[in-house]
């Protein structure tokens, strides 16, 4: 690839990510640019580096094998003035505990979550499903066919993880049982 081509591909990627707004998979980017995925992911990580420049207000985030353009968090206080005060209520301690347990034990049932927390977790689970942080992922092949829950892509986005492999690992967090 000659240099001009690389530049053009970077420009195409930026244009696509911008126009999409939503995350775009590496696969799609590879199909459109006709550049193989490996080269492309190298190119994108180079681009990501350049976005860290002081004078840039936006950045590329990698989430679950997709890329998304977004504003940098450090300019939140300025950007928010453009919008109506947004009521982004933080999550309750109960909800965070449920998420923590689900993140390391997915797919997980309500009963499993409650066993670890020691308390009923119905409403916390419901509010997480409502906020699209937990998703229902089928049912367990067990009596009563309990619903299995998984963390969503939105969970990765909201907590800044590239993928589940990005979660802090330790032998303490071996899947229960």
């Amino acid at each position: 690839m000659i240099k001009l081509e690389i530049q053009k591909i970077e420009a195409i990627i930026e244009a696509m990510l911008f126009a999409s707004g939503d995350p775009v998979t590496l696969e799609t980017l590879s199909e459109v640019t006709e550049v193989d995925r490996k080269t492309l992911s190298l190119l994108i990580s180079r681009m990501m580096d350049r976005y860290t420049d002081e004078n840039r207000g936006i950045q590329v985030r990698e989430i679950d094998g997709s890329y998304q353009l977004c504003s940098k968090p450090e300019y939140f206080d300025y950007v928010k003035k453009l919008f109506e005060p947004r009521q982004k209520q933080g999550l309750s301690q109960a909800a965070l505990e449920v998420l923590a347990i689900a993140a390391y034990n997915q797919p997980v049932t309500r009963v499993e979550i409650e066993k670890i927390r020691g308390v009923s977790s119905d409403s916390a689970i419901n509010s997480l499903v409502e906020r699209n942080l937990l998703i229902e992922a089928g049912r367990m092949d067990a009596p009563g066919k309990p619903i299995l829950y998984e963390t969503s892509e939105e969970f990765l986005r909201a907590f800044g993880y590239k993928s589940l492999a990005d979660l802090p690992q330790s032998e303490d967090f071996l899947k229960a049982e």
Binding site: F18, A19, S20, G21, D22, R61, Q68, L69, C70, S71, K72, P73, E74, F76, V79, K88, G90, L91, Q93, A94, L96, E97, L99, A100, I101, A103, Y104, I116, R117, G118, V119, S120, R157, A158, F159, G160, P168, D172, F173, A176
Partner: protein
């Protein structure tokens, strides 16, 4: 964690925190007493735990059943430890305690992780995303599907042959029926079925009235009958070879 400072009549202030559950409260007590989680003094912790529940009740705070279940577990362990003879043959108090400690430790890991989650949530909720641009895109005018190169000549051949038959019916080769005239066979089947609605039996030759008696027509009709025999809708009767075939409706079952 929400806190309430409540003035009691006894004029001292106690701090009642909202605990997520019995594990959460136990932790608080263990930490407050600077106990080692692996070496919990059950008697002491049990008393404090039950006192706490009493205070919650005095303050009209809801004490959910989970808290009460834990209280009874703690009391059980405590009593067995005090009177080892009383519970002979049942679970050793040390086993009950170990089980409790293990569950506490597991819960603690997740609880500690929530601190990280809380920080990350606060940071990453400062990011803005944008909706996608609005384009008016015409649907793609290309065919993404790809076809075999043999398809076009095959289709052309079939059209071509059909036309040739129209001009000279006798020239239609028998083999064509198999390949291309499934539709004709199907319509012949319908014709036979229709006939069988009003009549229980009819002669094969009756299918060729009005000059539709080319070799192709005969073969198609015959294939239709074979199909119907296969699905047991009809039976065929032929008294002698090259004789008239009689089509008979078959009873259900």
């Amino acid at each position: 964690m929400k806190e309430k400072n409540i003035e009691l009549s006894t004029s001292y202030t106690i701090k009642v925190e909202n605990f997520e559950g019995p594990f959460d409260l136990l932790f608080h007590l263990i930490e407050k007493n600077r106990m080692d989680i692996y070496d919990i003094q059950i008697a002491e912790i049990t008393d404090q735990y039950i006192n706490y529940l009493k205070k919650m009740e005095e303050l009209d705070l809801e004490v959910t059943s989970e808290f009460l279940v834990m209280a009874s577990t703690l009391l059980l362990i405590k009593s067995r430890m005090l009177l080892p003879e009383a519970g002979k043959g049942e679970e050793e108090p040390e086993d009950l305690k170990d089980d409790l400690v293990n569950r506490l430790i597991e819960y603690k890991r997740y609880k500690e992780f929530t601190a990280e989650l809380r920080d990350r949530e606060a940071y990453f909720s400062r990011i803005f995303y944008k909706p996608h641009e609005i384009f008016r895109i015409e649907p793609a005018k290309v065919v993404n599907a790809s076809y075999s190169p043999e398809l076009i000549p095959a289709i052309y051949e079939s059209i071509y042959d059909k036309n040739r038959r129209k001009m000279n019916p006798e020239s239609s080769p028998f083999k064509e029926i198999m390949a291309r005239d499934k539709i004709t066979v199907r319509s012949k089947i319908r014709e036979v079925v229709r006939k069988l609605i009003t009549r229980a039996r009819f002669k094969f030759s009756e299918l060729f009235t009005g000059g539709k008696n080319t070799r192709l027509d005969v073969a198609t009709a015959f294939m239709a009958l074979l199909e119907l025999t296969k699905v047991r809708r009809i039976t065929l009767e032929q008294k002698k070879s090259f004789g008239e075939i009689v089509v008979k409706k078959r009873g259900k079952g």
